[in-house]
Structures are given as C-alpha cells and as structure tokens.
Symmetry: C2
C-alpha cells in the first residue's frame, strides 16, 4: 500500500492513525461484536461514543457550558438555510459579510427567510482580502452578523475576531475549525461541515449559545430545529453515527498532538513553507493579500496558465493529488488541513521548485 499526499479541499486527508483504528475496529468495536456502523444510536455503546466525541470537542475548543454542541446533517449548504430559520428569532434581517464564494452562497440562501444586509464585501478587490472591520456597516437591530471564517475557494481567512457588540456573531468555520484555538464565547453560533478537519462528509457540527435557541421559524424542519435537537442530544433523528465515531477519533488524535495550540503551530509552519516559496518565486504567485492569507487553503497561479495541465500531470505522477483550483477561480489550490503532514508540503514545494527550474 502506498498512500498519497491528498491536497483536496474536502472531503480531505484524514490522520492515518485514525484510519488504521477505524479499519481495526470495523467488525468488532471494543469487544462489542458489532461495527460502530451497526450499533443502535440508543444503545449504551454508541451513547458512550457520542458522549466522548462531544466531551473531546468541548475540551479542545474550550466550549463554555452555556453552549450546546450538536451533531447534525446537511453540511454548510444545509446550514445556509438552517441558520436563518433558527437565528432570525423574530427579527426581520441579518448582516452578512461577503468574502467570497461561500459567503455568497450563504447570503443567497438566507434571502429566502429574511432580508440580508451585506455589511461589507471583498468583491471590488476580487475577494483577495477580508474587508477591515472599520468599514463594516452593521445594523444594531440585525438578528446576527454572519461571516465565513475561511473561504475555501478564494483562500482568505480571518486572523482576528470581529467585534459585533450585542449582535451575535455567527461563523461558518467549515474549513478552519480546529485548526487553531478559538474563543467560542465571542460567537453566538459556530457551524461547519466535518469534511475538512473533523471527519467524513455528512456530519455537521453546530455550537450555539443556549439563549439563542428555541425561536425557530414555524417552517423549520424538526430535524433542523436547534432547540429540538439540543433537547434530544442530537438524536431527534438518527444521527450520522459512523461520522460521529470518526470525528471522535480525530478529536483524540488532535489532543494527542498537543491540542489546538500545537495544531496552529503545525499549520503555520506548513503554510509558511508554501507562502515563502510562492513569494520568492517569479513563476508561481499567490493572489491573496498577505495579512488575510488562509493557512488551510492556498490558491496559487502559474505565470503561464498554458502550463497548468503539465503541472497537474507532473504532480499526479509524484502522488501529489487534487491540486487543481476551483473552477470558479482557476489556477491551483493546495489544501493543507490538520491531517496534511509537513512532508506533504515539502514534497509539493520541492516539485514546484523543480517545475519552475524546468519551465520557468
């Protein structure tokens, strides 16, 4: 067996020890005689797995006790509807900050449920930077302020937390959750699909301050009503049990690596390798403003895009996979989430150096 370096934006590389443990336990979890996939979600074995996953997530992120942790389904695109359904709370509008493709999707979907005030936008600059907080036009009566903490496609990331006063801050953290410490108490709601830093696609994490739930719109499906799910330990419907199990293994792996401080250091080191190379190169370049560069998703361009296919073929031949940029922006993108080892980034940089020497 030969494993590759998988730079996919998500679903993405998972820690190899997690996959090994999952393989070993596939037919018989801890002497239960069952796969986790086969367990009743109401049986004592799965209830323990679920509770342990939640406990570890709370420990890693330091989630305050007045926040609920929910394990749901539908991913961030589902949440784009579910968030306004739950969070409008009798108000008529919400503020959204537009930093790229994922913000745009969130805004469009939210408009089905209320009015949206775009408080700031990076559109004029081609979404290569995060609009500074000073320029945001916030509505003090907004139900919440929504941001996307890391734009997976454009590669811009908040390295600061916006102050929104008494209006709850809501963040789509799909692509940078658990990549660094976060002060959860500064947010009203954090959500994200699992398929970057957490586990398999199909699991959605929601962390919500408990005073904000319980006022969902009447048209909210019960399965997506935060209060109903919180009251039922995320088991109003059958949860994605296997995904929760894998997430628990990933949380445990992060803890064993030293937790989120250690992850942040690991991720800064990997990103620095790549950005330093890009900035020194006259052939490859990063389109993103230095202060707002994502440590998770690194878009880059070749000086001559006629060489894009040649670059991708050479990468594939070296088992460096999924480097093609998103179709909406073109170029290349290296996603280097928690589970990407530094060796993967070194191998990529070495290949880019070699490619530049040959074609530059």
């Amino acid at each position: 067996m030969s494993r590759v370096f998988n730079f996919s934006a998500g679903p993405a590389a998972l820690p190899e020890p997690v996959l090994r443990q999952a393989a070993e336990e596939m037919l018989d979890w801890h002497g239960s005689g069952m796969s986790v996939m086969e367990m009743s979600h109401r049986g004592k074995e799965f209830i323990a797995i679920h509770a342990e996953a939640e406990r570890l997530l709370r420990e890693l992120l330091g989630v305050p006790t007045n926040y609920k942790v929910l394990f749901l389904q539908g991913g961030a695109i589902g949440e784009n509807a579910i968030v306004p359904m739950n969070m409008l709370r009798g108000r008529t509008s919400a503020d959204y900050v537009d930093t790229g493709e994922w913000s745009k999707k969130s805004i469009k979907e939210a408009q089905k449920y209320g009015s949206v005030n775009v408080a700031a936008s990076g559109k004029a600059g081609g979404y290569t930077s995060i609009p500074p907080r000073e320029g945001w036009t916030l509505d003090p009566n907004a139900a919440y302020v929504h941001i996307c903490s890391n734009e997976t496609i454009g590669g811009v990331e908040y390295h600061w937390t916006p102050d929104t006063g008494d209006v709850p801050l809501v963040a789509d953290m799909s692509s940078n959750i658990l990549s660094k410490p976060v002060d959860v108490s500064q947010y009203g709601l954090i959500y994200g699909g699992a398929q970057k830093n957490i586990g398999p696609a199909g699991l959605t994490i929601v962390i919500v301050r408990d005073d904000l739930i319980g006022q969902a719109l009447p048209i909210t499906p019960s399965a997506f009503d935060y209060k109903q799910q919180a009251d039922n330990d995320s088991m109003l419907n059958t949860p994605p049990t296997y995904g929760i199990y894998i997430a628990g293994l990933v949380f445990n792996w992060i803890k064993a690596q030293g937790g989120l401080e250690a992850m942040a250091e690991h991720n800064r080191a990997k990103a620095a390798l790549l950005y330093d190379f890009l900035d020194a190169s006259s052939f490859f370049s990063s389109p993103v403003a230095i202060a707002d560069r994502s440590l998770m998703n690194v878009p880059f361009k070749l000086r001559d895009d006629a060489l894009d296919e040649t670059f991708l073929e050479g990468a594939q031949a070296r088992s460096l996979l999924q480097l093609k940029g998103h179709r909406s922006v073109g170029g290349m993108r290296a996603s280097i989430y928690n589970a990407m080892p530094v060796e993967g980034v070194k191998a990529l940089v070495a290949y880019m150096q070699e490619f530049e020497a040959t074609h530059g």
Copy 2:
C-alpha cells in the same frame, strides 16, 4: 473476534463481507492511496463509486428511467418536512394514511407546510393492522397520498400496493426498502433512511418521478430541493460520501445473493420461523394481525411482562442483542433485516423455546 446477532431496529446489522471489504479498503481504495472518506466528491474515484451505487440500486429495484435517484441527508425525519416542501406542488393539502408511530410523525411534520387529510387510520385497533384500501377517504385534489410501507415500531407492513389513481403515491420505505421486489412505477416518490437495509445512518435515499419535481416551496433549503439536487447529481452539497460507498457495497452484496427475489425468500423464511413459533407458543405472542405482519420488525410480548428483564438478560448472555421493544409499545422486538442470517433467527427461537420451558 466474536460477532453477535444484532436485532437492532436501526442502525442495524450489516453483511459481514461488506464490513470486511470496508476494513480492507480503509487506507487505500483500489490502489488510489486514499480512503474513500478522504476522496474529493468531485474526483474521478468518488464519481465512479457514486455512479456504481446508483446503477446497482436502479438495477436491483428496476427503477424506470423517468425516475431520479438521489442520495441525500437527514433521514426519514428530515424527509417528513422535505417531502411536503417538494411535493405539495401548488396544492394545499395531502392525504396521509396513519398506521402507527412513523405515520404520526410524518403527519405532524407535514402540517407545518399544508393541510393534511388523514385518509385512514389504524389507531382504533391499536395500530395492529393496515386499514384496508376500501375504507380510505381519499381527496382527488390531494397533492399526494403518503404511506409508511413498514412501521418499524408497531410491526405492520403493507403486503400490497394501494391504488391511488392519478394522485401520486409517496412511501416512507425506510425499514423495508430492498427487502423484496417493488414496482417503482406505482409510486411517485419512495424515500428512506439508509440505516436498516442499505448502510450507515446519515444517508437518505430518494427515488422520485421526474415530472413531480421542480415546484418546491420557496422556503425549501437548496440542499433539500429535489430538482436542484437532481440537476447536480446529488452534489449540490457535499454528499455523505462514505455512506454512499458502503451502500454500494451492500447493493453489490444483495445482487450477489440473487437480488430482491432472493432477499424476499430469505426474509419470508426468517419471519416464518419466528411467527410460527410465536403462534404455537402459549407464553410468547405477536400482537399484529396475521395478514399485515412485518417481515422486518417482529414485536412480541411475554405472557408475564415481569419477566421482560430476565428475558433480555438471558438474550444478552447468548449474544442476542437489542431485543427490547420500543419504549412507546413495550415488550420485545426482533428486527430481522436483510443482513440478519437465518442462524440468528434460529438462535433466537431456540432461546425463546428454552425460556418458555423454564418460565412458561
């Protein structure tokens, strides 16, 4: 490793060869160097896995070409809202047949989106039989007629397909899909959570006639709009990729067993063993009308319910697990889906005989 006989109502036992293959392929699917869990849903490997799962499902069920097959999220409880959102199609009301706990949940949720006419109910008889078609009060202007083809909790199952004329028939088949052949063309929509006969919890199957989609209510989340998902091959949001992979392995296993005719024979034989014993026993009994007994979920009662705990403890000691009945009905329940081998049912009946001899 010692595997148990798992009579859970869902998530439920999976075929052992499927779990073995999943374990073997966990770190490296077909020489790709990746786990299926790590694959981009837009990469060629996963697109092939997804297409093969759909092809096998279409082959097994004989799905006509004018039906879409969708792989979604949220389970049947999610669909309880998603179905009316998509299927009301400008009409104001839908007909629902009430056959037990799952029908009741569907009815309650649908009332958020339109008016519900309960066309027939098994309530007066304690939900121990399916109301005969002759007694249904159908509305010719209804958007659809909804049934639950198998009540997982009460243990009643349709062994016939209701004729609803020009009004589309919608069926929650969560707990008996793929247990027997079905004439899909008699239905407008079939849906079900995967966690009984298909694969892991978190995957929802939707099979829908293509002329019925495209008129979702404006408040329908994009992730749950059948038309948008059909137009995007179920990839409008990131699908539950690992669940789809496991489902494909299960479909392949069913095909290797001889397909749905063979499954039906296997399931009839298992159910007959259990029901014949129950009917011959003076200590155990089935509460369900003979004609409407489920071949998947077999509720049964002990003559003296003070012995329930003793029965469950003895079962556990023999590795016969998850036999406790649902809290809403009490007693016992043996769920004997496709993956339950006949040996499991024989072991259960042998234990019941022994228990009756000792305590009867």
